[in-house]
Amino acid sequence: MTVRAGVFAFTSCEGCSLITLEVEDRLLEILGRVEFVNFREAIDDKSDDYDIAFIDGAITREHEVGELMKIRERAAILVAMGACAVQGGLYFLKEYHEPGETLAYVYGDKAGQFDTMPVRPVSQYVKVDHSLYGCPIDKREFVEVVTALLSGRRPNIPDYPVCNECRMSENICVFERGLACMGPVTRAGCGAICPSRHVGCFGCRGMVDKPALDQHRAVLTERGLTEEEITARYRMFNGHWGSAHEKP
């Protein structure tokens, strides 16, 4: 069976779209089963007839909402791809600044000519069937979602924290190296790529369904992080979702 798919980028760095081309080893095989009929970054066709829509990016402007709704109407399955689409992602950081100041800083005296809308995840406006987490998404997980959808099963996406993957890789916990880590509350699936390179997890894959927030904050505090530093960590990738989890 082959399916028709579209890849659509909204407000993003298009890194996640790019990852779909980075599965070099599997690309020809995937192209044999998935017909990309709309993928502005890579192809000319702009068909409106597709079964699966992959969405990369957050929604930050009025016209994007309309486009997204049209895509939702046409696609049987909608996959949100990456931290921007799933959580609002890193670009949500602008929401912690006054909108007026944001515009003035960038446009100076021309600020009045522009408007800006709050950064929102795709799920704010339409139903999302599956999510690919991470900034960027993990290419193995992309292949997993594609193969699962082709065979009509649910994709296998972890709902356990990154710590589990660290243990599987026998990493020395970065807390032992004196670094802070979002791993205990962050959804695994990245293979603990950051801790494996001696970097504390930044939480780009968003939180597990039931994060142990109080314990995590307590650990970070114990390690000497101030309340502001903890908040900065929590805000980095968790966007809209992170702010909802934030303590007042």
Partner: protein, 430 residues
């Protein structure tokens, strides 16, 4: 054709959203623009109040294709602000990462986004049907670039191991050695690509312009150096604001960038024109073989220059690995002490010169930021090329004119999501 209105919305096979707008009246070109309609993301604002450790993590997300270069420019800006000079080992590893990024970015552009035009098919998908060997070769080369980035930086899109004054962990020597073998083996694919390029018909069009790039001393410069113009002046990265100016061009509010003329070019062809003498001898031989010689004023040759640079980067990466393995890598202490002040980091991204400029408070928090992106710098030049090429095209059909303009825009490899780190274009659909 006396009157012509072309609006190509959301040009395909470029990174980001851009529209071409052309208006011809009585055979006279009244308007020829590339409008950027990507949503603004306000990076300069997002950076404010964030710490020096996070800056490169945040700015890497400006662009998924040149994430390594953004990270590099960001780290250099912070080091410049804090008066840090990174070790020779750190510099070598960063250069190796840049080689990897150039290989993957240029290969993606040349094979996936441009070759379909030159081979007369709509995209890489039909190309897989008509030229499967070309696609296999492209995938192998692209994977080599990605794997090199992953080896040194943890991954290509948004590297994890790059940090201020060093790396969080070092690549395994065995991994470097096997990457070296693959680099040497890639010569065969590159030779085949050169043969393919000899058969491609590159549109003939020339327009002399100003070329800006880093200036090399003993190496083809991607990582470091002063800035130079083909018009014969040089300037220090820190003084860039005196030499290049961002301006708002009514009625659109796209920030265009200009130096001493109305427009200039950055990117592979600009670097080639300014520094071709410093290319690896294999890259020079390829330039000769495919008919690229400096100074070249045909923007369609940017893609040929990208091929030449790919060959250079493959050789340079192999040599860099030799140096790293020869001297032996060691875990270094990376001391960072924030001080208040401003720092500028300039790097050559695959698409052209990239500037990151940060101001820090004494606590190591960013108080001000500015980033100037290659595509923003090329915008005025692309539009000047459109103006220049249009009169010669008006005898053809509207579809042909649109196709040539799209090819011209794609030749620049515009990375539009990058260019809109903060800008938005309001445009008049004429």
């Amino acid at each position: 054709m006396k009157n012509l209105d072309i609006k190509v919305e959301h040009v395909t096979r470029v990174e980001g959203h851009g529209n071409i707008v052309v208006k011809v009246r009585d055979g006279r070109v009244e308007d020829a623009r590339l409008d950027i309609v990507e949503s603004p993301r306000f990076f300069e604002v997002m950076l404010q109040g964030r710490s020096w450790q996070e800056a490169s993590w945040i700015t890497s997300r400006i662009c998924g294709i040149c994430a390594v270069t953004h990270s590099t420019a960001s780290l250099k800006a912070t080091e410049d602000a804090f008066g840090i000079v990174p070790s020779a080992q750190t510099v070598l590893l960063r250069k190796l990462l840049l080689d990897g990024e150039y290989i993957q970015s240029h290969v993606l552009h040349v094979y996936f986004l441009v070759a379909p035009d030159l081979l007369g098919v709509g995209s890489v998908v039909p190309l897989a049907g008509t030229h499967i060997e070309v696609v296999r070769m492209a995938l192998r080369l692209k994977k080599l670039g990605n794997d090199l980035c992953a080896l040194v930086g943890g991954r290509h899109v948004h590297p994890v191991a790059m940090k201020v004054n060093g790396f969080t962990s070092l690549p395994e020597p065995a991994g470097l050695a096997s990457a070296r073998e693959r680099l040497v083996a890639a010569r065969a694919d590159l030779d085949a690509t050169v043969e393919l390029f000899k058969t491609l018909r590159i549109p003939a069009f020339t327009r002399e312009t100003e070329y800006l790039s880093l200036k090399g001393v003993d190496e083809y410069p991607l990582y470091d150096g002063d800035m130079m113009s083909s018009d014969g002046y040089v300037f220090k990265p820190r003084g860039y604001l005196e030499s290049i100016k961002e301006t708002v061009v009514p009625p659109s509010s796209a920030k265009h960038v200009a130096a001493r003329r109305d427009s200039y070019m950055v990117g592979a062809l600009a670097r080639f024109n300014n520094n071709h003498g410093l290319l690896h001898k294999r890259a020079k031989a390829v330039a000769d073989a495919v008919g690229l010689s400096a100074p070249c004023h045909n923007p369609f040759m940017i893609n040929v220059a990208q091929l030449v640079e790919t060959v250079h980067c493959v050789e340079h990466a192999a040599e860099t690995i030799d140096m790293l393995l020869g001297s032996g890598m060691s875990v270094e202490v990376s001391d960072v002490r924030p001080i208040a002040g401003r720092g500028v980091g300039v790097v050559e991204a695959p698409r052209g010169t990239l500037y990151h400029d940060y101001t820090y408070g004494a606590d190591g928090m960013i108080t001000g930021a500015n980033c100037i992106i290659p595509t923003g710098q090329n915008l005025a030049n692309i539009e000047a090329d459109m103006q220049g090429i249009l009169p010669g095209l008006l005898g053809g059909t509207e579809a042909d004119v649109a196709q040539t303009l799209k090819m011209l825009v794609r030749a620049y490899d515009p990375c539009i999501s990058c260019a809109t780190h903060s800008i938005e274009v309001v445009f008049d659909r004429g």
